[in-house]
């Protein structure tokens, strides 16, 4: 639940609760006030009735209006206290009971005790109270709604910076070369948050860049010692003063150091792709690259007795770095050749905005999740570096191409869509 919704709901429930109590309390206090007023009026009326009775001596005086009735009846006892009560009286005209306020008292006129009841209709005042409460309800609802709307609107204004920050953090990529800039906010809490976040990301980014630079420098520095190792081993091989066992050890060391230098240069290449160090871009013909490559791989293809099927859309070109284009094609095709079986099939297709290499190979599909990871190798070819598809993936990521793997009809198919 969003903070805004949460606070709004809280506000709403509390204000409704308070309002409900408020209305009830208001009703009763109004009621009491009205009763008091009516009582006062009736008290005055009582005095005037007593005065009248003393003057005219008549009983059963009926007031002219229905709203104010007086009932006078002679009684034995006297000196009863004034009693106020609410009572319902049947209205013959409207055929329903109506609420009246009643004042009962005894009075002695000319030694005769009378019990006198004065009635006053509460119909009007009741109607007034209901109306007042209704108007109040409407006013309060209006007030709450306006408050909610204003609150919501202003909250959205205030929180916009916060959501913007969240969004930026969400999209933040350490590798991106764009600076991490957060919006300024008038709210202190948010500007504090943004400031802290900004310093934090800057620090993380610097640490990351340092580490990356360190690894890259290390990779470069490793090349020279490797060159020394390789050349010394090569010299040692020429010396011809060793027995077979020593030769064997030497060859193993030599081959391992060559492998190491291959790893190293491939990792350097991956880092360079990540760092976008291939800015040059032009229209590249994959067909040209493929023709050259297939010529180069001819020996390998022939030794594996592969059936090569090519299907090239004529004049298809793509805008990208020529070296990376070559790396992309070379790695995909080389993979397809290397992991192929003797007498297998290799199909290469260049189409409208896609490039696809399919090959026979192991009978099981490969794990899609692991395929593009560095150093992933299928057990069948322990000699491979396991970096070829990692390079492909990096190049595709750089240009926003989509690379996908499928296994159907016993063919492993890698496809690059130039979207």
């Amino acid at each position: 639940m969003r903070l805004l919704t949460k606070t709004t709901l809280n506000l709403l429930s509390i204000s409704l609760f308070i309002y409900l109590f408020g209305v009830i309390a208001f009703y009763y206090s109004l009621r009491i006030q009205v009763d008091n007023n009516v009582n006062n009026e009736m008290e005055k009326r009582k005095q005037s009735i007593i005065r009248q009775m003393e003057e005219v001596h008549t009983s059963n005086t009926q007031p002219p209006t229905r709203n104010e009735m007086v009932v006078i009846s002679p009684v034995e006892t006297a000196g009863l206290a004034d009693t106020y009560a609410d009572t319902l009286i049947f209205n013959g005209d409207e055929k329903r009971y109506q609420l009246y306020r009643q004042l009962g008292f005894t009075e002695t006129v000319n030694n005769q005790n009378y019990y006198i009841r004065i009635y006053k209709s509460l119909e009007e005042t009741d109607r007034l109270i209901v109306r007042i409460i209704m108007i109040m309800t409407i006013l309060v609802i209006l007030l709450i709604v306006t408050l909610l709307v204003i609150n919501r609107y202003s909250s959205q204004q205030v929180w916009r910076v916060f959501y913007d920050t969240v969004d930026k953090i969400n999209r933040y990529d350490l590798n991106s070369h764009e600076a991490f800039r957060l919006e300024e906010s008038e709210v202190k809490e948010f500007s504090d948050l943004n400031r802290v976040l900004q310093t934090m990301t800057e620090r993380i980014r610097n640490d990351y860049l340092n580490l990356k630079e360190y690894t890259e420098n290390a990779s470069h520095e490793i090349q020279t010692p490797l060159a020394i190792i390789n050349s010394k081993l090569e010299l040692l091989l020429q010396s011809g003063e060793m027995n077979e066992k020593q030769y064997k050890a030497l060859v193993d060391a030599y081959e391992a150091s060559i492998r190491l230098s291959k790893y190293n240069s491939t990792l350097i290449l991956l880092a360079k792709i990540e760092n976008k160090q291939f800015p040059e871009s032009k229209l590249v013909s994959f067909e040209l690259i493929l023709t050259n490559l297939l010529g180069n791989l001819e020996d390998l293809i022939r030794s594996k007795k592969l059936e090569v099927v090519t299907n090239f859309l004529p004049y298809a070109t793509i805008q990208m770095n020529p070296y990376l284009a070559e790396m992309l094609v070379v790695n995909l095709v080389k993979n397809a050749v290397r992991h192929n079986v003797k007498g297998g099939k290799l199909a290469i297709e260049i189409g409208q905005a896609f490039f696809q290499v399919s090959n026979t190979g192991p009978e099981q599909p490969l794990d899609n999740n692991l395929l593009f990871q560095r150093f992933y190798k299928s057990s069948a070819s322990p000699e491979s570096l396991g970096l070829g598809l990692a390079i492909v993936e990096k190049i595709c990521a750089l240009y926003g191409f989509r690379v996908s793997y499928q296994f159907n009809e016993k063919m492993h198919c890698l496809r690059v869509d130039f979207v």
Partner: protein, 225 residues
């Protein structure tokens, strides 16, 4: 052939000198940009091996200097940076080859030999080794004046062997020379063997002695001894 090696890494330059000395070249080594400039101004060399990253300057500047003075010399650049830009720049300003560290000494030697042939005979030379004769310009090879029928790869193989005669050539070095970076060494071992077999058969058929020796587990040697 007089060769100047400009490489600040002493162990590496020592190894290069040791390998090339055996080939009958005369090698001089300097370790800094400063020393290199001095040597170039005083002496004449046939070929130079230049490291790009020198402690007091760039090997590329050295090449520019040489070209400015119109000194005729073959140049091979070696660099730890496998950067395409550097490579293109190096070749554009007049280097003959660009090798990335680590490289095979046999490979360096083969390039030096080819530069040597180009400089000393303007390319129109014949390479004669006992009964074998090569015309590198035309990519043709003869044994006892009968032309060998060789594929391009087999011809390159023979040239590489002759350039590094009497030396053990590792399979990795061979693979890299013949197929370049794109081929992983392990893949190519099988058909290196096929090519060698074909080359040897063709040589023997034309009456050549069997110079190619297989050194088990290691590589080959074009043995004239």
């Amino acid at each position: 052939m007089k060769i100047l090696i400009i490489e600040d890494e002493k162990s590496l330059s020592d190894a290069i000198v040791e390998y090339l000395d055996g080939e009958g070249h005369l090698c001089e080594v300097v370790y800094t940009f400063e020393e290199a400039v001095e040597k170039i101004e005083l002496y004449q060399y046939d070929c130079m091996v230049v490291d790009i990253n020198l402690p007091d300057g760039s090997g590329l500047d050295l090449i520019r200097l040489i070209k400015k003075r119109s000194i005729t010399v073959g140049i091979i650049v070696v660099s730890a940076r496998n950067s395409l830009d550097n490579k293109i720049e190096g070749l554009e300003i007049g280097a003959d080859h660009y090798l990335t560290k680590p490289f095979h000494l046999a490979e360096l030697n083969a390039h030096l030999k080819s530069i040597h042939r180009r400089i000393s005979f303007n390319g129109s030379n014949e390479l004669i080794l006992n009964e074998i004769k090569l015309i590198p310009e035309a990519h043709r090879a003869f044994v006892l004046d009968q032309e060998l029928v060789l594929t391009k790869k087999e011809y390159e193989l023979l040239l590489f062997f002759i350039s590094n005669k009497n030396k053990i050539i590792t399979k990795a070095g061979l693979a890299e020379h013949l197929w370049g970076d794109h081929m992983d060494a392990a893949d190519s071992y099988d058909f290196i063997y096929t090519h060698i077999k074909n080359l040897r058969r063709e040589l023997l058929k034309k009456g050549c002695k069997d110079y190619i020796r297989t050194i088990y587990g290691l590589g080959y040697k074009f043995d004239l001894t």
